[in-house]
Symmetry: C2
């Protein structure tokens, strides 16, 4: 059967039909009053989603573009930065810092485990002579399904006083609460193909007044990613460079859907989907890669034993047209990842788990009672 694919990867995530219909509209001129009206209307929605009064700037880029902008706009060559590294994306932000000649100090934890907030305290305390200018933390580590304790790390950063906190919220925003103003998060980057429920192509960066102060003296070179240009034009409800207008149409529709559902309901749904998925994996005796205490509400990584992760992925695709994500870098072939982020509902989890049971049986994996995964997921979904 064709044209009935199901995305259970951590991005691109499923897109509602109404959003696709908005996306497929004929573009309008981006220097028109109509476009400015759309931008103005969305500004409120975007701030609502970000739980902030800070400016949230919209770029034509991937999440990496957002994070690079979030780093380079506020720093100068030689500045000391601390980067939390416990997965592919934390590692990537370290590479960005290196590429720009920052003095990069990495705080690491093994992939699959969370960063230890106390490590941040220790490192920041040690930087009395040349204080760190920024601390970069990946909230939900997409590569491993681990959520880092951003609140605790941020408390240490705030106690230290000087450093900006720069957050990769690419797979946390819209899945779990990221209370930017309440916690005082200076820079938060995200991308459209995740919790936003729209296709890839838009990137978002929220910027605090403290970060804008740092912007004034930051000297790393930039032009397309110069957030000052976006800020200036956003005040007039426009953009410095031609925006992907069709993705803005899609964003408008998606934000309306999110506002109708409500932030708390969205977060609760993601919690429920995560718990159901994890309960199912446990019932199928498939080891979870991240512990319950640091499980991301967006992605569940599974490290199967007695059956190959890649065989599961390819048979899920072939038999049921369900896309699961594989492991990245050294985890390739070691894990598979189930995305339950964005436009995902209870039915999707049951469909994925029941298909997984069929695939496991077909692959000769016998370490489970048929139906146990679905029953476990169902139990969570009916009570959580």
């Amino acid at each position: 059967m064709q044209d009935k694919a199901m995305l259970m990867i951590p991005g691109p995530t499923p897109v509602p039909e109404s959003v696709l219909l908005s996306l497929g509209k004929h573009p309008i001129g981006h220097r028109s009053g109509e476009f400015s009206q759309i931008m103005a209307a969305m500004t409120a929605g975007i701030k609502w989603l970000h739980q902030t009064q800070n400016e949230v700037l919209i770029l034509a880029a991937s999440g990496t573009g957002a994070m690079e902008a979030g780093i380079i706009n506020f720093l100068s060559a030689g500045d000391r930065v601390v980067v939390g590294c416990n997965g592919k994306f934390g590692d990537r932000w370290g590479e960005v810092c290196d590429a720009y000649g920052l003095t990069t100090e990495r705080i690491s934890a093994p992939w699959g485990q969370p960063l230890n907030p106390d490590d941040f305290k220790a490192v920041l305390d040690g930087h009395r002579q040349k204080p760190s200018k920024a601390v970069i933390v990946t909230h939900s580590e997409t590569s491993t399904g681990v959520i880092n304790d951003l609140e605790a790390i941020n408390r240490h950063v705030k106690a230290h006083g000087q450093a900006l906190i720069i957050v990769d919220a690419v797979t946390s925003l819209g899945a779990v609460s990221v209370p930017i103003d309440e916690w005082g998060l200076d820079v938060v980057g995200s991308g459209s193909q995740k919790g936003y429920m729209i296709p890839p192509g838009l990137a978002f960066v929220s910027v605090s007044p403290k970060a804008w102060e740092a912007y004034k003296t930051a000297t790393l070179p930039k032009f397309y990613l110069d957030l000052g240009k976006y800020r200036k034009d956003a005040a007039k409800h426009t953009t410095p460079f031609t925006p992907p207008v069709n993705l803005f149409f899609a964003l408008k529709t998606a934000l309306e859907m999110m506002q109708a559902e409500g932030l708390e309901a969205i977060f609760q749904r993601h919690q429920r989907l995560m718990q159901a998925t994890r309960a199912a994996m446990k019932a199928l005796n498939l080891p979870l890669y991240a512990a319950d205490s640091c499980a991301s509400p967006a992605i569940t990584a599974v490290a199967p034993q007695g059956v190959e992760a890649e065989n599961i992925r390819s048979l899920m695709k072939k038999r049921f047209d369900i896309a699961l994500a594989g492991g990245q870098d050294h985890l390739k072939g070691q894990i598979f990842r189930i995305g339950h982020l964005g436009f995902v509902g209870d039915r999707d989890i049951l469909a994925a788990v029941s298909a997984l049971e069929a695939v496991l049986a077909e692959l000769g994996y016998t370490n489970f009672t048929p139906g146990a995964g679905v029953a476990a997921a169902s139990r969570v979904l009916s009570t959580a």
Copy 2:
């Protein structure tokens, strides 16, 4: 009447229905075999459009992102570069060079006039001690409707021998021949919302082997715009960062349409549309901002006398839902610009010109014989 807008601006340009339907399809995973098949299939089409065997890399960005990538990947701080400036976009590439600490030498011509190729010879000849590393030229200057004599400028660059030629082909590619291999153009940047007939959000950069040689020693900092990353992944038919997959669907459909029409036919169509538009403006006694000898086949800029440019634009919008572009920077209010780029046909020109006649009459402009513009355009379209 709603929902019947007509774009006659130099971008976003009109998008065919079949392209919109492709755009509105549900996304697929970008790490899937299906996506790689689409990328592989498109590679041939993109090279065909660029008339090159060079690699053409695809970024999620605007045309400015493409041009910034095309500049910073091949240069180091302090390198001497020559930038042709005769409009907003030439000026912008100069600003990019300044932002990255390049030693920027500008060759200027007044807005509305073409760059003088001999000026490039003189400047390059004068750089014996510290030769220029690159010459940056805007082919079709979108802000003024002037096309620069890229072939002649490039001959001087080639005679000089050392410098890379970096071309902004944002509104020339797909409208007029840009024979990259025949002329030996090292770096050529473009954007999806122009001749490509798809909405904004994708940017393209073609890179010659000589430019890749320069890449090896270039030290300007970059990450998201690091073309080496795109090159490495393009060899495996994938991208380093999440691509806007829906715009790739659209691109595939648009390329198929372009290949069915044929390159020569596309260029001839743009010539015909340009000539018809210019003939109409002359018949209406509306002064053309650029001379015939340097007229861009993508955009015609008009500097009306006896009637306000902005009044024409707003009444065209209000009465007929036709979007024309205004002047930029100091040309605001001085000119209006008619885009005839991409998915534009004879009927569109006749519709725009006849609507313009109605608007001129309504605004009290009497310096024309009613019907003269349409008759002039019609004459060109039936013979050219």
